[in-house]
């Protein structure tokens, strides 16, 4: 088995709090040990080094808190059936220590672009998007910001109250939830994510100046990327992270 002789910095943090969002999704709040400092950009991730079955498994998790919040880092994850990394983390308790490297990743939102921004997240894919939106909102009035957030059911729409509150208080922010398994009586949109994106950002108008930030698991992310780029959006205006 490979041995890492890397000289990169390894951080250690204590699990200060665990928040259960729903049946299979938790946030872990990690307090960096003593003198360590971490600076990162909204959208970046940590690579957790998990000691499992005599090996060190690397599992990346996006930082769901904002850089401005200092050294209490939030990661937010769901349990993956038979997944060793997520099961290891779900067995951790407050006070235990985790090791990681970082920050990593080029899916970042630093300066808001001078155009409408559309954030598209599926499930826990909201994690890197959350600090991006908070950053965009903090920068003051600007072109419209939209969050299109899909999940299986209502309880899987994470940080929902925040999104609804932002939509109430910031006239330039809108929140569109989509449920793939809606309860009867759900008054939201019936479309799938791809159908909605196709209709709203491709067929409905010819504006191709928007910027997109997409995050989720699997092929749906690259399918949305392809749909938007084929429709004429600039390659670099369609940023994404596929898990």
């Amino acid at each position: 088995m490979a041995v890492s002789n890397s000289s990169r910095v390894t951080y250690e943090a204590t699990i200060e709090r665990i928040f259960q969002h729903n049946l299979d999704t938790r946030s872990f709040f990690l307090r960096l040990l003593s003198d360590q400092q971490l600076t990162w950009k909204a959208g970046q991730f940590l690579s957790l080094l998990l000691p499992i079955a005599g090996e060190t498994l690397i599992r990346p998790y996006s930082i769901a808190s904002s850089p401005e919040e200092g050294n209490l880092l939030e990661i937010c994850l769901n349990l993956v059936p038979a997944g060793p990394g997520s099961h290891y983390l779900f067995a951790r308790t407050v006070g235990e220590t985790l090791r990681f490297t970082g920050p990593w990743g080029t899916f970042v939102f630093d300066q808001p672009p001078p155009a409408e921004c559309v954030f598209i997240a599926d499930g826990t894919g909201i994690a890197p998007i959350r600090p991006m939106i908070r950053r965009a909102l903090a920068s003051g009035r600007q072109p419209p910001l939209q969050l299109l957030y899909s999940a299986l059911q209502g309880a899987d729409l994470l940080y929902r109250q925040d999104w609804e509150a932002y939509a109430q208080t910031c006239s330039w922010f809108s929140f569109t939830p989509l449920l793939s398994n809606p309860p009867s009586g759900w008054s939201g949109l019936p479309d799938s994510l791809a159908e909605y994106v196709e209709r709203r950002y491709v067929s409905e108008d010819s504006d191709r100046s928007r910027h997109f930030y997409i995050c989720g698991v699997g092929q749906q992310v690259t399918q949305l990327r392809d749909l938007l780029r084929r429709a004429g959006y600039q390659r670099r205006a369609v940023q994404y992270e596929k898990w």
Binding site: S4, S6, I58, P60, W104, G105, T106, V108, R225
Partner: protein, 120 residues
Amino acid sequence: MAKLRILYETGEPEKVIEFDPAQAPFQHDGQPGSILDVMLGHGVDLEHACGGNCACTTCHVIVKSSMAHLSENSETEDDLLDKAPGLTPTSRLGCQAVIEDSEDGEVVVLVPRYTINQQV
């Protein structure tokens, strides 16, 4: 048997790995049979901060010969390479470039001095 020769921009001595592509994966990170998989599986280190998930660029290598023996770049790999420091026309991500066959020649890669893209 296929052959992978690894050169280092730091001047570290080169390494050669002979392997049977049909035996891949050799360990658990990156695409099975990728440059990263072959290296880690034969005890040769290569940065792979995201665990071979095509999300960080730290596994960036420059292919010096036999590019044709590697799998084609996906758009996701190209998008990420676009942000890699020191990008060259033959740059690849070690975790994504699969050595498909190098019976008639070895694949030669150069590990750049700075593979870490910690702050974009």
